[in-house]
Amino acid sequence: MKPLHRLVRILALVVAAVSFATITYADVRVPLGLQAQLVRRLAGFDRNFAARATGTARVLVVHKSGDDESRLVGGGFAKALSELHDIAGVPMQVDEMPLADPAALAAQCKAQHVAILYFSVGLEPSMEGVAGALAGVDVMTIGASSTFAEKGAVVGFDLEEGRPKIVVNLARAKAHNVSFKAELLKLARIVN
């Protein structure tokens, strides 16, 4: 019985430790490095990207304030993207920040001519409100999962049967002056 008692004690310790664990989200199913490479490529299929980027493509990565998971995923994407040096042939600058106020975010995107706005995990519940605040802003919004595209981002990523899938919200694309070529749309899953 002693080994069993030991096992039960270990179990209790583990459960106690786990109780301190913060919430985590569904796995970011498409690895961040692959997401970065996909972003780099799909921007080239946006007819308006070069004009929006105006010489240097500014990428803003936002995460949920006070959320470790969200900050780590956002930071990981930012690092992976920075290592690629350019997006669709245009030099880039990548910045990160926590999401504070959707209206302030929209104003920042306009003022700084942000070409790509990436949403990290944890911001899914806020996406509809953020999308509303960003209405009419010339920016490609991208989320870490397909839920973002369903809730108002232009692009999201999903895994279908072990392979990455680009998810495009055509209505939001139009609202943000993103015009994807047919070759990309043929490869993507379209949501509205």
């Binding site: 459960v15 490479q37 490529r41 799909l42 895994l159 392979r163």
Partner: protein
Amino acid sequence: MKPRLRSRSSAFLALLAASVSVDLTRARTARADDVDELDQLLGETVVQGASKSAEVASDAPATTKVITAEEMHRYGIRSLDEAINFLGMSLFTSNPLHAVEIGGRGVLLTSDFGNHVLLVVDGHVFNEPWDGTAYFEQGAAIPIDLIDHIELIVGPGSVLYGGSAMLGVISVVTKHASSLKGAVFTAEGSASPQQGTSGQLTSFAPGDLGGAYRLAASFGRELTLFDKPAEIVAGIELYRQNGPSFAWAPQTATNGNGDPANFGPNTAPGTWGGRTTHQYSASVPSIYTRFLWGNFTVMARAASYTRRTPYQNAFNQYFTDFDDPLSFERDRWLSLDIQHHGRIGKLATLVRGYGDLYDFHQEMHTSDGSNCDPVVAGTCTNKVEGRSRWAGLEAQGNVDWMGDDRLTTLFGADGRVRNVGGQSDSYDGQNQYVGGVGRKYLTELVGSAYAQQRFTPVKPLHLNAGARFDADPRGGNRVSPRAAAAIETWKGGVTKFIYSEAFRAPTFYESYYESAGQKQATNLRSETVRSVEASVEQAVGKHRFLFGVFRTWWSDLIGVVSIDDSTVQTQNIAKIDNWGFNARADGAFGDLRYGMSITEAHTDRSRPDGTDTQLPVAPQVFGNARLAYDLPGALPTVAVATTFVAKRPADRALDGNFATAPYAPASLDLRLTLSERVPGVPGLSYRIAADYVTAARSPYVAGPTQSADPTTSPGTNAALAPINRMTGFVTLRYELPL
């Protein structure tokens, strides 16, 4: 064999070089909107099983092959073993008309009941601890409509998974609710004609057809529960098969008393043979469900697998009346797995509690009481019971030190308590107990700890090193290391070098069984394997190529030896030396999709007497090829798939003393599938397929003549079990959005 190896590998390398030169040319003229580049990225497969973390397959520390649900549907795949044979790489299954056997890269250990390959479904190990058994045909008991994709992880995998992962790990990932989005109903039926003694197709009359059917329903729904995201996925399936009917050439036999053996009322005394119509069947009801809520995932599964084998043999059915439905095997499972994912700063945590109930029941019914122990007059039934109950807790941590997946440490520990046991009892014709052997039940504690370091010091170089320590009362303690490097050598190209080890602890039966004629094993060690491999993978747009070489050394293989005239014992007796190559290519030209793989190996088994032999049943050359084309509009997708296997020795070829050593011929299995949505009926789709096998015989000796005595019966040859050579099937599937 060497000249063939050189010419095949040279041709493949030439093709690879041509692809690379095309790709380098393309790189100089790359455009921002290059569809090929995007295709290449979208064609990357993401695997989780090799490192227990999501990564692109080209970075993974193992040779992997992903089989998708869409491919399985397109090529008419109905089970895990068909997926492995028609769509996989380096792994192969062989069908003895009961549970299939599985091997890889030239090594297949016949009669192992699948205990050298680990089957994992959504992170839950399906191999049970009584005999290490996992099933890979319909007996895997996973509703096939729930499968999202299958990861074949080839090579020793004990570094993260522990015992039994010697040939590889097959990781099945089920669908998320977002892929199902409602309910799916499936009805499938198949038919096969009657076969003669030489495998000829003798009757297509409706009353003479054998067949199977599958009814399934699956469901997926995303929801919000107490303000947290949730989803439920569930599937239920019933598979039933009966036949086809086979004809068996007569074999004469006497029993232990020297009298003509009695094989029951369906054949003459002293003769085994005729036509079986009642003893080739299977029934597999299964239910599988997964519920996700916030940080928690709960998986539950219930299934049973009942089957009848139409012939007696030396490993799963030692005796039976001819064509007797009273002889059968049945497995039953209940499984529960609860997982919690969390994060504490940079540490991602996984805590998993699991529990399983498993039992095995077999009845071998015979009219010849001399088969039973003790001997009885008249009929008797031998009933074999096996049972295992186990529960455990696994805790795992994963730290991404730099936040960009370039330096990550995975560590974990698993503790498990298992109650395992079995017995073999004999009952007379009135179902009265007359005696039993081998009865033993005990409780064991098993523990393990593992760690893995992934490091990408510079972008093109991905390093992975890990080890796992397993403490198992059977076979002792083991450390299983792995070291791998994946180097992005040029655009789209990856070169891998992998060293890995694995083990299999002795089964309950191997460790503890004893009877009047068998002494309990002593100091039995775990079987071990060491492997080195190198491979080159190349991606060019939608096309992918792989060529790899491997070398493995197997030690302490467990077998039964005679220790004196009347007693046997299980001991560590054999070694295997194995090397070879595997290659695959797949891709698409517009709507035309293709794929192919080939594995060629050379395998020697060293016996206790110092002689080297081939490995029976294990194919040394095997592979597959497939083509599919999406015809436009309402016309169907046409798919042709084939799997092939070279000539190989039968299971009793080396120890049966037959006049001519029995070999199964080379074989080609061809399948044509048409699939499409039904025009005018939203949600309804069909699939029609026909399958034909060129060979008539499998590598399994069938009937009471399992060996020959050249002095008393010279010229005796083995009779090999037949193969189901032709099947037609239709699948209807209805998707109901909810």
